[in-house]
């Protein structure tokens, strides 16, 4: 019997970019096909074409052996194709039910929405595949992990049997990843076929039946987990050898730079998000903050950087209490901050790279003399940093919005780490980035440490925390469940703490 899905010579050009270059792809019934590739390799584009969001310039698509003409998502849906997009496609203010039923609403006596019916259907589906969600919940109140489930339920609700999952694990915690993998397995078990996109080689090796690697829009090879390992896959993706663990010598901690005592911070729905946290960070060490998303890490960092009010407690930076100090004074005290959401907080997408590189130093000499800003100084700095931090941008005047996510991140890293600082705070520094970029940013953080700065790294990626940190703090429900030495830490021990289980 023919493959459920066949792509032949798919080509897609974007202005200035050959996103997909004659890509062939086959997906067998009941299999998991992993699609690997650097950022910008063309994975999403290819899948968007399959789902009818983009139209290919060349090439044909065959579904269950028959040539398919996919004009838009509705065609794809009719063909039983469903897609979970790299960036969630959920309407935050609507309920789970509304989000799921949107587009194929069930209707009562003629015109009235039949929410109850849809909700029932959703419950059935979640029972069947072990995807618990509350159909009445409003999506924006749900943690990403659950939102992920809603996305999958959307597919199943439409009886899709070809499932495309574009980087579904990028935002998930280890536990959630486990859960997702289990779900995918049960889906496959029930005869569905899955295309699974990820940068995380471990998952790919664990989950997939076949692996196809894209590079620069071309398919550079297919393999199976059996025939490959992380290193080989990585070099296939990047086209060169890459080092997977961070090369760093032993830390030699100096004196205390940051001293947090009994810190209490409120979250957005002004319920306490950080309740009585105390810890210290010394110069010359990297402290990793691990934890399932939404356990107070975000609020903790925002409080440390002055972006969120401190209810009570002390935050001593180099001896000075900076609790509730303004973000600016904290920055000026020598704090660098790589924010969690680069596009929302870290950049002005409409500004040129050069202008983004002075976002928090625009008022200081030599960038500004009094009220007047100094063109020359700005461009000099831009040229220097773009070279030094290897930011891939056509020109310093290119709007940051046109850079790839990874390069956007590099702009922020360049801006923050190029300043002389006592304390460096990096939240999710490599989320959604490819190995190349990850490698680079990690090395920069280590470099900062070795220069004697205190470094805090918050990440949902256990691998990252373990690879980078000298000490690891695990947060659970606004408290620090435990602090352990990176050397002593194991995935299991951390996992327990993250789940709120205190070790002895």
């Amino acid at each position: 019997m023919p493959p459920v899905l066949q792509l032949r010579g798919i080509t897609k050009r974007f202005p200035g970019v050959l996103a997909n270059d004659h890509i062939d792809l086959e997906l067998e019934q009941g299999q998991v096909l992993a699609l690997l590739g650097e950022n910008g390799a063309g994975k999403s584009t290819l899948m968007n074409i399959l789902y009818g969001l983009y139209h290919p310039d060349e090439g044909e698509i065959y579904v269950r052996g028959e040539k398919a003409d996919i004009q838009g998502p509705s065609d794809a849906i009719k063909l039983g194709i469903g897609m979970v997009h790299q960036h969630f496609m959920l309407v935050p203010v609507l309920t789970v039910t509304e989000n799921v039923m949107l587009g194929m609403e069930s209707i009562r006596n003629g015109i009235v929405l039949d929410r109850a019916k849809a909700a029932r259907r959703i419950r059935d589906i979640s029972d069947q595949y072990g995807l618990e969600v509350d159909p009445e919940a409003t999506v924006e109140d749900l943690p990403v992990g659950i939102q992920q489930r809603v996305e999958i339920i959307k597919l199943l609700y439409r009886n899709a049997d070809i499932l495309i999952l574009d980087e579904p694990t990028a935002v998930l915690t280890p536990q959630e990843v486990m859960g997702l993998i289990a779900v995918i397995r049960s889906l496959v078990a029930q005869g569905k076929s899955v295309v699974f996109i990820s940068h995380k080689l471990k998952e790919v090796l664990e989950l997939s039946d076949r692996i196809v690697v894209l590079r620069r829009g071309r398919s550079v090879g297919a393999t199976t987990p059996a025939e490959s390992d992380e290193r080989s896959l990585a070099s296939m993706m990047v086209g060169r050898d890459v080092i997977l663990e961070v090369p760093k010598g032993p830390a030699n901690p100096g004196d205390v730079v940051l001293d947090v005592r009994d810190l209490v911070v409120k979250g957005d729905q002004n319920k306490v998000a950080v309740s009585g946290v105390s810890f210290q960070v010394r110069g010359g060490e990297i402290v990793g903050v691990a934890g399932v998303q939404g356990n107070g890490q975000t609020e903790l960092i925002e409080a440390l950087t002055g972006l969120r009010a401190v209810e009570s407690g002390r935050v001593e930076l180099g001896g000075r209490d900076v609790a509730n100090a303004s973000p600016r004074s904290i920055t000026e005290d020598g704090t660098a901050h790589v924010p969690e959401d680069r596009q929302r907080d870290g950049l002005v997408l409409g500004y040129s790279v050069a202008d983004n590189l002075i976002l928090n130093t625009y008022y200081l000499a030599p960038i500004a003399k009094g009220l007047a800003m100094q063109e020359a100084a700005i461009t000099d700095r831009a040229d220097r940093l773009i070279k030094e931090y290897d930011v891939r941008t056509p020109t310093p005047l290119t709007p940051a919005g046109n850079l790839s996510g990874g390069n956007q991140q590099k702009v922020i890293v360049a801006r923050e780490l190029s300043r002389p600082v006592k304390l460096t705070i990096a939240s999710q520094p490599t989320r959604g980035l490819d190995v190349g970029s990850i490698e680079y940013i990690h090395s920069q953080l280590v470099k900062k440490r070795d220069e004697g700065a205190a470094v805090i790294v918050v990440s949902a990626e256990l691998d990252e925390v373990m690879a980078l940190a000298d000490r690891i703090l695990v947060m659970y429900e606004g408290r620090i469940m435990g602090a352990l030495d990176a050397a002593a830490a194991t995935k299991e021990s951390l996992g327990m703490l993250m789940a709120g289980v205190a070790t002895e």
């Binding site: 974007f14 202005p15 200035g16 970019v17 650097e38 910008g40 620069r216 990047v238 086209g239 060169r240 972006l307 303004s326 973000p327 600016r328 920055t331 000026e332 901050h337 924010p339 929302r344 907080d345 870290g346 950049l347 002005v348 997408l349 409409g350 500004y351 202008d355 976002l359 928090n360 625009y362 008022y363 500004a368 009220l371 007047a372 800003m373 891939r392 941008t393 056509p394 020109t395 005047l397 290119t398 709007p399 919005g401 046109n402 190349g436």
Partner: protein, 428 residues
């Protein structure tokens, strides 16, 4: 090394787009400003043509002529249009032949008569420039100031008060003082919605609209026939301002040639706003808050403070449009001092793409339109309201250049940066 080459490949590709294809979003293009001007020019011409059709097909004589045969109809239509637009252009720019001959003759009276229309255009565009700058500055800072009209009233009140109440000051002191009064008045009135937005999140669009009505009533109260600022001759108008507060006229004691130093002030203001926005730290803050308030906060800027400053500056500029009208043209302030600048200003800011120099050009255009229309009304009995029609059309065509391109079969141009305004209610 390998993926360096990839990057440079992408980079090159992005830098030299294949001809015809638009470059990736937001790619800037230096030079080619002539082509940049082509579309707006065609937009204006197209609008004028449509305006002409409106004139022709609402004119009885044309219909009668059509009664006497198609040819005669068309002929009549063209003569009507010709008459109207003849009047329009001579009203906006004057009659070149006449100007030349006047200049040759070298007679003051003739020259004045000849250049009068041009001067009138400049005079009308003066307040437009200020008001347009006000809204444009707001857009840059992410606030939508529909309150220019209200700021105009308040500024007018304080300006005229300083103008007539303070006596015996030398001009070098009095005039700047009166202007300053306008700046302060407009600035404060603008700062109110700014403050409310910053502190309570109350939307500036509502508040500026509300403040327009309030300001209007306040002015009405003050200038009431027996109000606090009434002249006392039974009319609801303020006293005349002291000559020491007059903006110097280009043609002293020529009642009809009222163009004055205010025009240069407007140009200076445009230059100043440009410098402020693009060359100073404050401008950087304003634009950052406008583009991404969260990033601004992250960067240690005080969003609230910046919003208030932006609105205050915006109000101050709007205020100056009143001050120049009063100190340069009217020399007093009447009740029901309505100007309509409030909404024209939005159009001007948009036409000028929220860029100070763009605003100046747009204002000159609107000035010419109004001057021309006034003349067209007199000579060809075409209702002045035609200007609004033409203005509206111009905005449509300039905002949607694709229409023009389709119309004239132009090829897709390199995309300029998207114009800076508030999108929707922002809610920032």
């Amino acid at each position: 090394m390998d993926d360096k080459t990839v990057a440079s490949a992408i980079a090159n590709a992005v830098q030299q787009p294949k001809s015809g294809a638009p470059t990736p979003k937001g790619q800037h293009r230096r030079g080619g400003w002539l082509r940049q001007l082509l579309v707006p020019l065609l937009a204006i011409i197209t609008a004028l043509i449509l305006g002409a059709l409106v004139i022709a097909f609402t004119d009885e004589s044309v219909f009668q002529a059509f009664g006497g045969g198609f040819g005669r109809g068309v002929g009549q239509a063209f003569s009507v249009i010709g008459r109207a637009y003849g009047a329009f252009f001579s009203g906006a720019f004057g009659n070149p032949v006449r100007i030349i001959s006047a200049l040759i003759s070298g007679q003051g009276a003739q020259i004045r008569r000849a250049i009068y229309p041009l001067m009138e255009t400049l005079r009308i565009s003066t307040p437009y420039i200020f008001a347009g700058l006000a809204v444009a500055l707001g857009f840059q800072g992410g606030v939508f100031n529909i309150g220019a009209e209200g700021q105009y009233f308040i500024a007018g009140l304080v300006t005229v008060f300083v103008g007539y109440a303070i006596k015996g000051l030398p001009a070098i002191v009095h005039l700047p003082l009166a202007l300053l009064a306008g700046v302060v008045g407009g600035g404060l009135w603008g700062a109110i919605p700014g403050y409310l937005k910053a502190k309570t999140g109350a939307h500036e669009v509502i508040n500026t609209i509300m403040l327009n009505y309030i300001a209007f009533r306040l002015a009405e109260f003050m200038l009431d026939a027996n109000g606090l600022m009434a002249r006392g001759d039974g009319r609801p108008v303020s006293p005349e301002i002291q000559p020491s507060a007059y903006l110097p006229q280009f043609f002293p004691n020529q009642v009809e040639l009222r163009v004055n130093v205010g025009f240069f002030l407007a140009l200076a203001a445009a230059a100043l706003v440009w410098w402020l926005l693009y060359k100073t730290t404050l401008g950087y803050e304003i634009r950052t808050v406008g583009a991404n308030p969260r990033a601004a906060r992250y960067a240690g800027m005080s969003v609230a403070r910046t919003i208030v400053i932006t609105m205050a500056l915006s109000g101050a500029l709007a205020g100056l449009s009143a001050s120049t009208d009063i100190l340069g043209v009217l020399h007093y302030m009447p009740n029901a001092f309505s100007s309509g600048y409030g909404f024209d200003a939005i159009a001007l800011a948009l036409l000028g793409k929220s860029h100070p120099f763009g605003v100046v050009l747009a204002s000159l255009l609107f000035g010419a339109l109004r001057a021309g229309a006034q003349n067209m009304q007199g000579i060809a009995q075409v209702p002045v309201d035609l200007t609004s029609i033409v203005q509206g059309l111009i905005i449509v065509f300039i905002a949607a250049p694709e229409i023009i391109r389709k119309l004239y079969r132009l090829r897709q141009p390199v995309e300029g940066e998207e114009l800076v305004t508030v999108r929707g209610w922002g809610g920032a």
